[in-house]
């Protein structure tokens, strides 16, 4: 199995056991770099897919929580290279497959070929790059594909249907359905029409569709599960990690509606 297929398989496995996949997002090294691998182990033991955020100085698609997390991680010396080196020590056996979520510039600086090789080596199965639209994605996408690593495409409610179809076909791992026109971290609830939007996307996509942005509660995860293969929980989990009292595995079980 290629690394990107591990992501798809994990989502399908969750669906086969009658529940939506839970995709958990954390900013690497936040709130403290020393806690990164233990937190990752706890999250990857519970979630179906883990997105690890590479901090960037100018996170233009992110709200306050992830901006704060990125800034604090950078200030504590977290970089793409640091993350890849730590991941080499992560024991991924029997755990959720990993993706890196990064703005383009840190990847560009690392060099695409070296990045693809190193990512595959340390068990990274895919990338999500929020400022890399399909039109500009060939150089990175091809370098990753050569190592079997997937580039996940994002679709939004503003995307016209013909374009959405192209994005679904180009995506690897899963299709990331952004629930709203907006930035991450929103607490204003999901927009009206999100169910129809996800139904239409799930219909056209050969890959599982996971919805993210603004998903914070078990109720929302359940609702999303009726219309998509999985739900991405980001800012809410980052906030839970910031509150060091929180039992992270319990928090994720709670999002699934299981008893904590």
């Amino acid at each position: 199995m290629q690394p990107h297929e591990r992501i798809t398989a994990s989502i399908r496995r969750a669906n086969a056991s009658g529940r939506p996949a839970l995709v958990a997002f954390m900013t690497a090294g936040h709130p403290d770099p020393a806690g990164f691998l233990p937190a990752l182990a706890a999250i990857a033991g519970e979630a179906d897919v883990v997105e690890i955020g590479v901090p960037f100085s100018d996170p233009m698609a992110d709200g306050m929580t992830i901006q704060r997390a990125s800034q604090s991680a950078i200030a504590q010396g977290v970089s793409l290279r640091w993350i890849l080196d730590r991941l080499a020590e992560h024991d991924g056996d029997g755990k959720a497959p990993l993706l890196l979520m990064s703005y383009l510039n840190p990847l560009l600086n690392f060099g695409y070929e070296a990045l693809a090789r190193r990512a595959a080596e340390v068990g990274v199965c895919g990338f999500i790059v929020p400022d890399l639209p399909l039109e500009e994605s060939a150089p990175l996408g091809e370098a990753l594909a050569a190592a079997g690593v997937g580039l996940v495409q994002m679709v939004t409610p503003a995307t016209p249907p013909a374009r959405a179809r192209r994005l679904c076909e180009a995506s690897r791992g899963f299709v990331y359905a952004v629930t709203m026109t907006g930035i991450t971290g929103g607490a204003g609830g999901l927009p009206e029409g999100v169910a129809d939007y996800l139904d239409a996307l799930s219909e056209m996509s050969p890959l599982p569709v996971c919805a993210g942005f603004g998903i914070r509660s078990a109720e929302q995860v359940r609702m999303i599960g009726g219309h998509a293969a999985g739900a991405v929980v980001g800012s809410a989990l980052v906030e839970a990690l910031e509150d060091r009292q929180t039992d992270v595995a319990g928090f994720l079980r709670g999002l699934r509606g299981e008893s904590v």
Binding site: D58, N105, N109, E136, A158
Partner: protein
Amino acid sequence: MTIEFSEAEKARLLAETIAGRLPDERGRFGPFGGRYVPETLMPALERLTEGMHRHLADPAFLERFRHELTTWVGRPTPLTEAPNLGRAWGAQVWLKREDLAHTGAHKINNAIGQALLAKLLGARRVIAETGAGQHGVASAAACARVGLPCTVYMGAVDVERQAPNVDRMRRLGAEVHAVQSGDRTLRSAIDEALRDWVSDPAGTYYLLGSAVGPHPYPYLVRELHCVIGRESREQMLAAAGALPDAVFACVGGGSNAIGLFHPMVRDSDVALIGVEAGGRGGGLGEHSATLSRGRPGVLQGCYTLLLQDDDGQVQGTHSISAGLDYPGVGPEHALLQSIGRVSYISASDEDALDALNECSALEGILPALETAHAFAGARVWARRHPGRRLLIGLSGRGDKDMPTLSRFPMEARHATA
């Protein structure tokens, strides 16, 4: 540390630039430019590109734009000879007076052009970022003129150092948001404006204020500012009987510079020189000299030169002038530098202050701190090339800088020069 081209490749890219074939379909100036934005903004940028091409090719739109430039902005702006500076520098010095354009800087050319476009494209509201506040004031005025509500994002550091402009924006009806995230200067203001736009890509028009950002902005902003270079060229021929030997403009994002330079790229005998902010030293974070010291990367929608560390984190910058305090630069400047058609130098905070005082005392014109960098660069060049004809883009006036200037007491020495 820009991209290296062979001589043949340089010649080809220069010819393409002169022929008006850049940016290409994908918004590329050679390798630079492009469109690196969240998917949410892609349809909005497609609509903007389509609408822009349609209206910029429409005589009715161009006539409306020309009419506003003439009757509201006050164009053409004069070309002023500066004989006292000329004597002091051993040169012939001419000034292109964008400080006399409505609202006091070149920014208004772009603001009114885009505001007209926003109205025609059916926008419900306009957002803008600003550094020095000049683009914010210009946007507020242009939006009042066309009848659209305007929200301006401005870094909290700049709100403080350009206070007079904040009050002007509010009086012109704009809502001003002091941005507290990031480095709280121009770059954070652009990040915040992009976040706003992502939240309402269909109803909101983003009136970007420099020749930066995703395609089509670098092209659109250049086209709206080229009036500066076209007028200058004609005025120089009429008043001096010849084109200048060298043309100077300050470079933040690069809008006044590209507007002045672009129409003269074809004039191979005219040296084009951009002046960046050298700040207070050469270390990362001490300056904003992107073209002199940057490496290629992607920031705020565009592949261009950036001030960044080895991990690709964009670095803090410093300049005494808010409008030059930016870690990126317009992609067309990155190209013009790499093919050797434009050279870029830098001037320190101190040199800019000194040049500002000199121009004020000798010619009775108080330039903006941004603009003063162009004077500082021109002065150095003039001393090395005696007896030449210089044209300086006087991009804006300095009234807005009084809070900063009052921290630096005048030296008497230029008063008697």
